[in-house]
């Protein structure tokens, strides 16, 4: 009994300590999964190769394909692991105010999560009004993430950024430690390095 109580005590004190900074905007709705293994997948794409095309349902309504931007816009695909979790819930609101920076590089964003559309609808509405499309890679579950080699063994995606130029070629890949939000400065540097 004494050992059992001790274990519970340890968990009750240690687990909350793993929380990252999350905006109070979501109140107590954020699920803290604690510290996770940094990367849990094997990348299947590389820089300078053609980006695998995909068509996914979007929160905004119509399905969206990567290919529809070919010849028109650079595309930064931002995969996040899961809705309603601490780091993910902050990442896209940051990109939301950075719209002018992306526009300056003729780049649009596509946010992708393996969550289903209703979940993504509710979650992104808590963020306010996002200027970019959010797509659901829910079914077949994580197929797009799998194609890119960033589907984790628990069915969530990595926190990954894939920058595709107007020719449909991958120019930058960053698979982040899932617990860490990638630096906006690093993204801007990648955009500056895009071929003109």
């Amino acid at each position: 009994m004494q050992k059992f109580v001790l274990w519970i005590l340890v968990f009750s004190i240690v687990l909350p300590g793993t929380a990252m900074a999350a905006a109070s905007a979501y109140g107590d709705k954020i699920f803290d999964a604690g510290g996770l293994g940094p990367i849990d997948s094997k990348l299947l794409v590389s820089v300078n190769q053609k980006a695998p095309d995909f068509t996914l349902p979007a929160v905004s309504g119509n399905p969206i394909s990567l290919g529809q931007y070919k010849g028109k816009k650079n595309v930064l695909i931002t995969f996040i692991p899961a809705a309603w979790t601490p780091v993910c819930s902050d990442q896209w609101p940051g990109y939301n105010i950075a719209k002018p920076l992306f526009e300056a590089h003729d780049t649009i964003l596509l946010g992708i999560s393996v969550d289903n559309l209703p979940t993504l609808f509710a979650w992104t509405h808590e963020m306010g009004s996002l200027w970019f499309d959010v797509l659901s890679d829910f079914w077949p579950h994580g197929q797009t993430a799998q194609t890119y080699g960033i589907l984790r063994s628990n069915g969530t995606a990595e926190r990954a950024l894939i920058l595709v130029d107007k020719q449909g070629i991958i120019r930058f890949i960053h698979v982040s430690d899932i617990n860490i939000r990638p630096d906006l400065g690093m993204i801007m540097k990648a955009l500056e390095n895009l071929p003109r």
Partner: protein, 189 residues
């Protein structure tokens, strides 16, 4: 021993609940304020803080009677939404002759790189000094609070700095907030 463990168990559940994302307002907390910040590059900001050199400085080196710290994040929707209100608070402080040289405001970007802090500053035209806490070092010391978070400090001869106020969430009304904060300090400015 068993009673002691049960009590500890109860506290273990209770305390994290009080320090999570939804802290009650005006709950002064024990925080580790023993950290240094780099001197701002802008000379106007160094003058504002009463710093004479470019060396890193401790909070208790800031020349002020009341120091307000905003823990923010460029990524936090509320911080974005209320940036104008925090700017208004700064403006009110600067316009009030009783507050101007006795109340100072700084912001610390939790988990924000220098680039991100600068982007936030430029986006919302923030005039008070902002600092980067890229790796959450300061954020951990102050208890991993949610953002935005406001801390009111005043000099204390024994402890160096006394936390007399802390608040999670929006300031709502800049004028009322600054009045309330000064009142809470117990100082006559």
């Amino acid at each position: 021993m068993r009673k002691c463990l049960v009590l500890l168990l109860f506290l273990g559940f209770l305390i994290p609940g009080a320090t999570g994302l939804c802290e009650p307002r005006n709950e002064p907390l024990k925080m580790d304020l023993d950290f240094s910040l780099p001197a701002p590059e802008e000379s106007a900001h160094r003058r504002y803080l009463g710093l004479e050199t470019l060396d890193p400085f401790l909070l208790n080196q800031i020349q002020t009677k009341i120091l307000i710290i905003e823990i923010f994040s460029m990524y936090c929707p509320i911080c974005q939404r209320e940036a104008a209100d925090v700017n208004k608070m700064f403006e009110l402080i600067q316009k009030n002759p009783n507050f101007k040289n006795q109340v100072r405001l700084i912001g610390i970007g939790a988990g924000n790189s220098a680039y991100e802090v600068n982007f936030f500053k430029e986006t919302y035209q923030i005039e008070f000094p902002l600092f980067s806490d890229t790796k959450f070092v300061i954020h951990k010391k102050i208890g991993e609070v949610g953002t935005p978070y406001f801390i009111g400090l005043k000099p204390d001869k024994k402890q160096g700095l006394e936390i007399f106020y802390s608040q999670s969430g929006e300031i709502v009304d800049p004028e009322k907030f600054i009045e309330m904060l000064v009142k809470a300090s117990g100082l006559k400015l």
